[in-house]
Symmetry: C2
Amino acid sequence: MDNRADWFETANDATKVLLQLSQRPEVISLAGGMPAPEIFPSDAVAAAFDRAIRQNPARSLQYGPAEGIGPLRETVAEKLRQDGLPVEADNIIITTGSQQGLVLIGQTLLNRGDGIALDEPTFLGALDAWRPASPTYTAIDWSGNTPTFAPAGAATPKFAYALPNFRNPTGETMPLAQRQALVDAAKRDSVILLEDNPYGALRFEGEQPASLLSLGAGDGPYDGPVVYMGTVSKTLAPALRVGWIAAPAGMVDSLIVAKQGLDLCTSPLNQYAALNLIESGVEEETSKAAQTLYRSRRDAMLDALRQFMPENVSWTQPEGGMFIWVTLPETLDSQQVFDAAASAGVGIVPGSVFYAMNPVRNTIRLNFTNTSEDKIRTAVERLGQVLQAQHQAAA
Amino acid sequence: MDNRADWFETANDATKVLLQLSQRPEVISLAGGMPAPEIFPSDAVAAAFDRAIRQNPARSLQYGPAEGIGPLRETVAEKLRQDGLPVEADNIIITTGSQQGLVLIGQTLLNRGDGIALDEPTFLGALDAWRPASPTYTAIDWSGNTPTFAPAGAATPKFAYALPNFRNPTGETMPLAQRQALVDAAKRDSVILLEDNPYGALRFEGEQPASLLSLGAGDGPYDGPVVYMGTVSKTLAPALRVGWIAAPAGMVDSLIVAKQGLDLCTSPLNQYAALNLIESGVEEETSKAAQTLYRSRRDAMLDALRQFMPENVSWTQPEGGMFIWVTLPETLDSQQVFDAAASAGVGIVPGSVFYAMNPVRNTIRLNFTNTSEDKIRTAVERLGQVLQAQHQAAA
């Protein structure tokens, strides 16, 4: 318990520090998980808010239904159906960003101490969201023929959490065979599978494997085992604070009750603006712009890593998303690297904060979406010097 | 426990039903707690969003700091100082509406089963917000010379919750002497006093007693015992989803950690728009417009109640806010009145949902802000007929 309390403190401090670093212009930040502001369709966003207000201010400026405005639930369901996902409007609840979706899932599914299975490292915000329920974490075990969610004899977790596309923090994509195995195991063990997909639209190379949601669906009305989460934060702008959960209709009813308690409703104004931006094709254009820009930035980061990293450092090669995951020699501690890098004017995130159970201390997360190619190169060069110095000190 | 579970179900169903009633145009709803859309300054809101986006889209459309944007924290602190409240920017955290403020307070202060003292009936949304912590509720005991927060021998609650201005659901204002006594008792017992003030700006007659916050403050930096909550939902528009908590700086640090877990940040766009609307005086103009309109509507409701209510029905005479609280003969059950009124085309809220401990079943809450004078009159007339019929059936 003490270890976990420490860990939570570290993790939350890191979240806070990295949000604060983002406010300091002199630091080149490869921390955070922020989209490039260059992709924000600001004229279209301004027009969408203006239209949403003027068309019906009595509706867009008022409180709205806790489940979200009807037309946005319809549009999100239609969007998912186009991707082959068998959902209707009553399978959708609108959330105040994906982060709130994670909280809602936790409040609805977890009793105190219940289990959650996941792959480490994982999204820090999810661990923050579930913290009030003090869950017990288990690692999904991929060592056998089929994955298992808990050691033999241990309690079955309430749900398993997966980020199949460009996982935060590693940038990795889960291959189709693993997805199918995970869905099969979830059905076998009656475990809900939570598919968090904030980055799926940010693929700039390679083929998109089928979603867990589509792999898990039967022929009838959608009844699990997969619960799916999406957001416009990465495809339009984070400040819309509009996300959604797709779940079996009965579970949506429970989520609505929890949602009322959390913030009554997501801003109808922001929802109408998001609806307009999705329907008018601006979201799709923005995703394409992001793909192009992020590919260049990823390439710049991979080039710089190849050039400036000392020996015995390795990293992932993501096909999309926002992050590269760097593994350092085991003699280095990422917290010390974090401090030294900050002094050298580079923001990174120490990898240890992304672990719910067993922190690996020689890993760091780099973001490539929110920094120009030039600055990425400069930052990685500085980081290389920091690592070289730490490596020599440790040797 | 079963009673409370039932109660929560009822309360949440009622919240849901009344949000849904608000979407049915054929019903005259005196339920809900919605401002009049006539007061929404829609041109100014549209201009504020436009300006916030165009002035700096890289900032307003991006993720922001969890504690809220600096200039809004400053402006809120300045606004509170003008009311004599001794707070600085680092005493302020911006929340996604007041509802989220209640959740944050609960997550930060409550361990499972901890106590909360309050006056019944109370705000339903607060009970929803604290539900995940399963608190133990006690009634503030006003029967002695000074108020007490728990029966002798019982555990001292973590905080006491008060809505001193036009309390939801009764519309009553706490007199100055009671406020002073409550602050003194909080200091004596080391109990935090949570002052929820969503309606304070909606006073249309009478003198405003000093806030708990100002009564509790000493000469040095603000250090409690009062934690204060405000919002622009009633003075600009609910869809901004911008509220705030003023608290001792150390507590604000804990609230920020909890806030990150809940939704990362309140929309910077919505915050910059709210900032503009406060600084340009639009918020104050809107409050004044609301005072004028709501006074007429309250008067219309009081007139209609005098004319159409059967004998042995009584009601409060609020000097502001949004609600009138009606007490029925003890033979009537507000849940049956709710059903019959809905059939007769009138939405009300059965009073029993506003109790955390001992529901009083012969009470109902009427909202006067979101309905025209004509419709208020028609609705109260219909309600009078419903009560007459129920009264005869019960006799």
